[in-house]
Symmetry: C2
DNA sequence: CTTATATTTAGACTAAATCTAAAATAAGAA
DNA sequence: TTCTTATTTTAGATTTAGTCTAAATATAAG
Protein backbone atom coordinates (compact mmCIF):
# COMPACT_ATOMS: atom_id res chain seq x y z
CA UNK A 1 0.00 0.00 0.00
CA UNK A 2 1.32 3.43 -1.00
CA UNK A 3 1.64 5.83 1.91
CA UNK A 4 2.34 8.79 -0.36
CA UNK A 5 -0.99 9.42 -2.03
CA UNK A 6 -0.96 12.17 -4.60
CA UNK A 7 -4.32 13.84 -5.05
CA UNK A 8 -4.24 15.88 -8.24
CA UNK A 9 -7.21 18.20 -8.86
CA UNK A 10 -8.67 15.56 -11.18
CA UNK A 11 -8.35 12.74 -8.65
CA UNK A 12 -9.70 14.95 -5.90
CA UNK A 13 -12.76 15.88 -7.96
CA UNK A 14 -13.43 12.21 -8.82
CA UNK A 15 -13.05 11.22 -5.17
CA UNK A 16 -15.45 13.99 -4.08
CA UNK A 17 -18.11 12.84 -6.51
CA UNK A 18 -17.89 9.30 -5.18
CA UNK A 19 -17.89 10.36 -1.54
CA UNK A 20 -20.98 12.46 -2.22
CA UNK A 21 -22.81 9.58 -3.92
CA UNK A 22 -24.50 6.69 -2.22
CA UNK A 23 -25.84 4.92 -5.30
CA UNK A 24 -22.64 3.18 -6.43
CA UNK A 25 -22.13 5.19 -9.63
CA UNK A 26 -20.53 3.87 -12.80
CA UNK A 27 -17.66 5.68 -14.55
CA UNK A 28 -20.26 7.14 -16.89
CA UNK A 29 -22.32 8.44 -13.98
CA UNK A 30 -19.20 9.97 -12.48
CA UNK A 31 -18.27 11.73 -15.71
CA UNK A 32 -21.80 13.13 -15.87
CA UNK A 33 -21.67 14.39 -12.29
CA UNK A 34 -18.25 15.93 -12.86
CA UNK A 35 -19.61 17.74 -15.91
CA UNK A 36 -22.52 19.06 -13.84
CA UNK A 37 -19.92 20.47 -11.44
CA UNK A 38 -18.08 22.10 -14.33
CA UNK A 39 -15.26 19.57 -14.69
CA UNK A 40 -14.52 18.26 -18.16
CA UNK A 41 -11.75 15.74 -17.85
CA UNK A 42 -10.63 13.30 -20.51
CA UNK A 43 -12.29 9.89 -20.26
CA UNK A 44 -8.89 8.32 -19.81
CA UNK A 45 -8.17 10.61 -16.88
CA UNK A 46 -11.34 9.59 -15.10
CA UNK A 47 -10.56 5.91 -15.63
CA UNK A 48 -6.97 6.43 -14.51
CA UNK A 49 -8.16 8.29 -11.43
CA UNK A 50 -10.63 5.56 -10.58
CA UNK A 51 -7.86 2.99 -10.86
CA UNK A 52 -5.50 5.10 -8.77
CA UNK A 53 -8.06 5.72 -6.04
CA UNK A 54 -9.01 2.03 -6.00
CA UNK A 55 -5.40 0.85 -5.89
CA UNK A 56 -4.75 3.17 -2.97
CA UNK A 57 -7.77 2.05 -1.01
CA UNK A 58 -9.64 5.36 -1.10
CA UNK A 59 -12.61 3.85 -2.94
CA UNK A 60 -13.81 0.36 -3.85
CA UNK A 61 -14.53 -0.97 -7.30
CA UNK A 62 -17.61 -3.18 -7.51
CA UNK A 63 -18.26 -5.66 -10.25
CA UNK A 64 -21.81 -6.77 -9.76
CA UNK A 65 -22.07 -8.71 -13.00
CA UNK A 66 -23.63 -6.00 -15.10
CA UNK A 67 -20.65 -5.59 -17.39
CA UNK A 68 -19.89 -2.18 -15.86
CA UNK A 69 -17.78 -1.31 -12.86
CA UNK A 70 -19.36 0.69 -10.09
CA UNK A 71 -17.56 2.68 -7.45
CA UNK A 72 -18.18 2.82 -3.74
CA UNK A 73 -16.99 5.35 -1.19
CA UNK A 74 -18.10 3.08 1.65
CA UNK A 75 -14.93 1.32 2.75
CA UNK A 76 -16.49 -0.90 5.40
CA UNK A 77 -16.80 -4.57 4.53
CA UNK A 78 -20.25 -5.09 3.14
CA UNK A 79 -22.19 -6.82 0.41
CA UNK A 80 -24.69 -5.69 -2.19
CA UNK A 81 -28.24 -6.46 -3.08
CA UNK A 82 -29.63 -5.35 -6.41
CA UNK A 83 -33.25 -5.08 -7.46
CA UNK A 84 -33.99 -7.07 -10.61
CA UNK A 85 -36.65 -4.57 -11.64
CA UNK A 86 -35.42 -1.04 -10.93
CA UNK A 87 -31.70 -1.80 -10.59
CA UNK A 88 -31.43 -0.09 -7.21
CA UNK A 89 -28.45 -1.27 -5.16
CA UNK A 90 -28.81 -1.72 -1.43
CA UNK A 91 -26.08 -2.49 1.08
CA UNK A 92 -25.88 -5.45 3.44
CA UNK A 93 -23.73 -5.21 6.54
CA UNK A 94 -24.05 -8.83 7.71
CA UNK A 95 -20.96 -10.77 6.78
CA UNK A 96 -20.86 -14.47 6.04
CA UNK A 97 -19.40 -16.85 8.57
CA UNK A 98 -15.59 -16.97 8.76
CA UNK A 99 -15.92 -20.69 9.46
CA UNK A 100 -17.63 -21.15 6.09
CA UNK A 101 -14.62 -19.57 4.41
CA UNK A 102 -12.19 -21.71 6.42
CA UNK A 103 -14.06 -24.86 5.43
CA UNK A 104 -13.75 -23.91 1.79
CA UNK A 105 -10.04 -23.18 2.16
CA UNK A 106 -9.55 -26.58 3.70
CA UNK A 107 -11.56 -28.29 0.99
CA UNK A 108 -10.15 -26.56 -2.05
CA UNK A 109 -6.64 -25.73 -0.94
CA UNK A 110 -7.11 -22.14 -2.09
CA UNK A 111 -5.93 -19.25 0.09
CA UNK A 112 -9.00 -17.05 0.00
CA UNK A 113 -8.18 -13.35 -0.15
CA UNK A 114 -11.56 -11.79 -0.78
CA UNK A 115 -15.16 -12.67 -1.15
CA UNK A 116 -18.23 -10.89 -2.39
CA UNK A 117 -21.83 -11.93 -2.04
CA UNK A 118 -24.06 -10.65 -4.79
CA UNK A 119 -27.75 -10.86 -4.02
CA UNK A 120 -30.57 -10.27 -6.49
CA UNK A 121 -34.18 -9.75 -5.65
CA UNK A 122 -37.11 -7.38 -5.69
CA UNK A 123 -36.91 -4.22 -3.63
CA UNK A 124 -39.71 -3.09 -1.33
CA UNK A 125 -41.06 -0.40 -3.66
CA UNK A 126 -41.03 -2.74 -6.66
CA UNK A 127 -42.86 -5.39 -4.60
CA UNK A 128 -45.86 -3.15 -4.06
CA UNK A 129 -48.51 -4.12 -6.58
CA UNK A 130 -46.53 -6.95 -8.12
CA UNK A 131 -48.60 -9.67 -9.77
CA UNK A 132 -46.33 -12.60 -8.85
CA UNK B 1 -40.22 -22.07 -17.90
CA UNK B 2 -40.73 -23.25 -21.48
CA UNK B 3 -41.63 -26.92 -21.77
CA UNK B 4 -41.21 -26.95 -25.53
CA UNK B 5 -37.48 -26.61 -25.99
CA UNK B 6 -36.35 -26.46 -29.60
CA UNK B 7 -32.80 -27.70 -30.09
CA UNK B 8 -31.63 -26.61 -33.51
CA UNK B 9 -28.33 -28.11 -34.73
CA UNK B 10 -26.58 -24.90 -33.67
CA UNK B 11 -28.06 -24.91 -30.17
CA UNK B 12 -27.33 -28.60 -29.80
CA UNK B 13 -23.69 -28.13 -30.77
CA UNK B 14 -23.28 -25.22 -28.35
CA UNK B 15 -24.90 -27.23 -25.55
CA UNK B 16 -22.61 -30.20 -26.26
CA UNK B 17 -19.50 -28.05 -26.03
CA UNK B 18 -20.60 -26.70 -22.67
CA UNK B 19 -21.58 -30.10 -21.32
CA UNK B 20 -18.18 -31.43 -22.36
CA UNK B 21 -16.31 -28.58 -20.66
CA UNK B 22 -15.64 -28.20 -16.97
CA UNK B 23 -13.66 -24.96 -17.08
CA UNK B 24 -16.56 -22.52 -17.40
CA UNK B 25 -15.79 -21.37 -20.95
CA UNK B 26 -16.51 -17.91 -22.33
CA UNK B 27 -18.44 -17.35 -25.58
CA UNK B 28 -15.06 -16.93 -27.27
CA UNK B 29 -13.83 -20.26 -25.90
CA UNK B 30 -17.02 -21.91 -27.10
CA UNK B 31 -16.67 -20.49 -30.61
CA UNK B 32 -13.09 -21.81 -30.69
CA UNK B 33 -14.16 -25.28 -29.56
CA UNK B 34 -17.00 -25.34 -32.06
CA UNK B 35 -14.53 -24.45 -34.81
CA UNK B 36 -12.26 -27.30 -33.69
CA UNK B 37 -15.27 -29.59 -34.11
CA UNK B 38 -15.88 -28.23 -37.60
CA UNK B 39 -18.76 -25.89 -36.76
CA UNK B 40 -18.55 -22.34 -38.07
CA UNK B 41 -21.59 -20.50 -36.80
CA UNK B 42 -22.14 -16.76 -36.87
CA UNK B 43 -21.14 -15.00 -33.67
CA UNK B 44 -24.69 -13.79 -33.25
CA UNK B 45 -25.96 -17.35 -33.47
CA UNK B 46 -23.67 -18.52 -30.71
CA UNK B 47 -24.74 -15.62 -28.50
CA UNK B 48 -28.39 -16.24 -29.31
CA UNK B 49 -27.98 -19.93 -28.54
CA UNK B 50 -26.29 -19.18 -25.23
CA UNK B 51 -29.15 -16.88 -24.30
CA UNK B 52 -31.73 -19.44 -25.38
CA UNK B 53 -30.08 -22.27 -23.45
CA UNK B 54 -29.69 -20.06 -20.38
CA UNK B 55 -33.29 -18.83 -20.51
CA UNK B 56 -34.49 -22.41 -20.73
CA UNK B 57 -32.39 -23.59 -17.82
CA UNK B 58 -30.16 -25.96 -19.79
CA UNK B 59 -27.01 -24.05 -18.85
CA UNK B 60 -26.06 -21.29 -16.41
CA UNK B 61 -24.53 -17.96 -17.24
CA UNK B 62 -21.84 -16.82 -14.80
CA UNK B 63 -20.73 -13.25 -14.39
CA UNK B 64 -17.69 -13.38 -12.23
CA UNK B 65 -16.73 -9.75 -12.65
CA UNK B 66 -14.24 -10.22 -15.43
CA UNK B 67 -16.29 -8.34 -18.00
CA UNK B 68 -17.00 -11.59 -19.86
CA UNK B 69 -19.76 -14.08 -19.33
CA UNK B 70 -18.86 -17.69 -18.69
CA UNK B 71 -21.10 -20.67 -19.16
CA UNK B 72 -21.63 -23.61 -16.86
CA UNK B 73 -23.20 -26.98 -17.60
CA UNK B 74 -23.33 -27.78 -13.89
CA UNK B 75 -26.88 -26.99 -12.88
CA UNK B 76 -26.52 -27.76 -9.19
CA UNK B 77 -26.44 -24.77 -6.84
CA UNK B 78 -22.85 -23.91 -6.24
CA UNK B 79 -20.42 -21.04 -5.97
CA UNK B 80 -17.13 -20.19 -7.62
CA UNK B 81 -13.60 -19.54 -6.54
CA UNK B 82 -11.15 -17.97 -8.95
CA UNK B 83 -7.37 -17.87 -8.70
CA UNK B 84 -6.03 -14.33 -8.86
CA UNK B 85 -2.86 -15.56 -10.55
CA UNK B 86 -3.74 -18.21 -13.12
CA UNK B 87 -7.46 -17.45 -13.44
CA UNK B 88 -8.50 -21.04 -12.79
CA UNK B 89 -12.08 -21.39 -11.57
CA UNK B 90 -12.92 -23.94 -8.92
CA UNK B 91 -16.36 -24.92 -7.68
CA UNK B 92 -17.66 -24.73 -4.12
CA UNK B 93 -20.58 -26.90 -3.09
CA UNK B 94 -21.12 -25.48 0.42
CA UNK B 95 -24.05 -23.13 0.41
CA UNK B 96 -24.44 -20.16 2.71
CA UNK B 97 -26.88 -20.30 5.58
CA UNK B 98 -30.56 -19.84 4.65
CA UNK B 99 -30.96 -18.00 7.96
CA UNK B 100 -28.42 -15.42 6.81
CA UNK B 101 -30.54 -14.76 3.75
CA UNK B 102 -33.73 -14.54 5.80
CA UNK B 103 -32.13 -12.03 8.14
CA UNK B 104 -31.20 -9.87 5.16
CA UNK B 105 -34.70 -10.09 3.74
CA UNK B 106 -36.11 -8.97 7.05
CA UNK B 107 -33.64 -6.13 7.33
CA UNK B 108 -33.83 -4.77 3.79
CA UNK B 109 -37.36 -5.67 2.78
CA UNK B 110 -36.06 -7.21 -0.44
CA UNK B 111 -37.42 -10.54 -1.65
CA UNK B 112 -34.17 -12.32 -2.43
CA UNK B 113 -34.38 -14.48 -5.54
CA UNK B 114 -30.79 -15.51 -6.09
CA UNK B 115 -27.39 -15.15 -4.57
CA UNK B 116 -23.89 -15.78 -5.73
CA UNK B 117 -20.72 -15.84 -3.70
CA UNK B 118 -17.61 -14.93 -5.63
CA UNK B 119 -14.39 -15.91 -3.93
CA UNK B 120 -10.92 -14.84 -5.01
CA UNK B 121 -7.68 -16.32 -3.84
CA UNK B 122 -4.58 -18.24 -4.77
CA UNK B 123 -4.94 -21.80 -5.98
CA UNK B 124 -2.83 -24.65 -4.61
CA UNK B 125 -0.51 -24.85 -7.61
CA UNK B 126 0.06 -21.10 -7.68
CA UNK B 127 0.81 -21.17 -3.93
CA UNK B 128 3.78 -23.47 -4.39
CA UNK B 129 6.91 -21.34 -4.46
CA UNK B 130 5.13 -18.06 -3.88
CA UNK B 131 7.26 -15.30 -2.36
CA UNK B 132 4.47 -13.62 -0.35
C1' DC C 1 17.20 26.97 -14.23
C1' DT C 2 17.54 22.22 -16.05
C1' DT C 3 16.43 17.60 -16.21
C1' DA C 4 13.70 13.69 -14.88
C1' DT C 5 9.30 11.82 -13.52
C1' DA C 6 4.34 11.77 -13.27
C1' DT C 7 -0.04 13.08 -15.09
C1' DT C 8 -3.39 14.70 -18.37
C1' DT C 9 -5.23 14.97 -22.81
C1' DA C 10 -7.55 13.74 -27.34
C1' DG C 11 -8.44 10.42 -29.93
C1' DA C 12 -7.46 5.80 -31.85
C1' DC C 13 -8.24 1.23 -30.68
C1' DT C 14 -10.07 -3.27 -28.50
C1' DA C 15 -13.20 -6.77 -26.84
C1' DA C 16 -17.66 -8.39 -25.69
C1' DA C 17 -22.02 -8.25 -26.86
C1' DT C 18 -26.20 -6.53 -29.29
C1' DC C 19 -28.77 -5.13 -33.24
C1' DT C 20 -30.37 -5.21 -38.12
C1' DA C 21 -32.21 -6.78 -42.27
C1' DA C 22 -32.01 -10.35 -45.52
C1' DA C 23 -31.82 -15.31 -46.35
C1' DA C 24 -32.76 -19.88 -44.86
C1' DT C 25 -35.38 -23.18 -42.30
C1' DA C 26 -39.22 -25.18 -40.07
C1' DA C 27 -44.11 -25.48 -38.91
C1' DG C 28 -48.98 -25.17 -39.90
C1' DA C 29 -53.08 -24.84 -42.93
C1' DA C 30 -55.50 -26.03 -47.04
C1' DT D 1 -47.94 -31.19 -51.80
C1' DT D 2 -48.19 -26.16 -51.94
C1' DC D 3 -48.89 -21.82 -49.82
C1' DT D 4 -48.28 -19.00 -45.84
C1' DT D 5 -46.45 -17.71 -41.46
C1' DA D 6 -43.23 -17.90 -37.71
C1' DT D 7 -38.64 -18.92 -36.20
C1' DT D 8 -33.81 -19.05 -36.71
C1' DT D 9 -29.42 -18.13 -38.83
C1' DT D 10 -26.29 -15.22 -41.05
C1' DA D 11 -22.91 -11.37 -42.06
C1' DG D 12 -21.84 -7.34 -40.86
C1' DA D 13 -22.73 -2.84 -38.63
C1' DT D 14 -23.21 -0.79 -34.16
C1' DT D 15 -22.83 -0.06 -29.20
C1' DT D 16 -20.58 0.12 -24.83
C1' DA D 17 -17.01 0.02 -21.52
C1' DG D 18 -12.62 0.39 -21.16
C1' DT D 19 -7.53 0.53 -22.61
C1' DC D 20 -3.66 2.32 -25.17
C1' DT D 21 -0.70 5.82 -27.41
C1' DA D 22 1.99 9.75 -28.06
C1' DA D 23 2.25 14.52 -27.36
C1' DA D 24 1.59 18.23 -24.07
C1' DT D 25 1.53 19.78 -19.38
C1' DA D 26 2.63 19.80 -14.60
C1' DT D 27 5.37 18.52 -10.69
C1' DA D 28 9.62 17.18 -8.30
C1' DA D 29 14.61 16.80 -7.82
C1' DG D 30 19.19 18.40 -8.46
MN1 LIG E 1 -21.65 -0.31 -1.07
MN1 LIG F 1 -19.59 -24.10 -11.91
ZN1 LIG G 1 -36.81 -2.12 -7.37
ZN1 LIG H 1 -3.64 -20.38 -9.78
Amino acid sequence: MNTNIRLTPQRKAVLEVIKNSNDHPTAGDIIERLARDGYHFAYGTVYNSLKYLTDNGLIRELKLGEGVSRYDGNLHDHHHLQCKICGKIDEVDHDISPQWLKDIEKETGFAIESHQVMLKGICPSCREGDSG
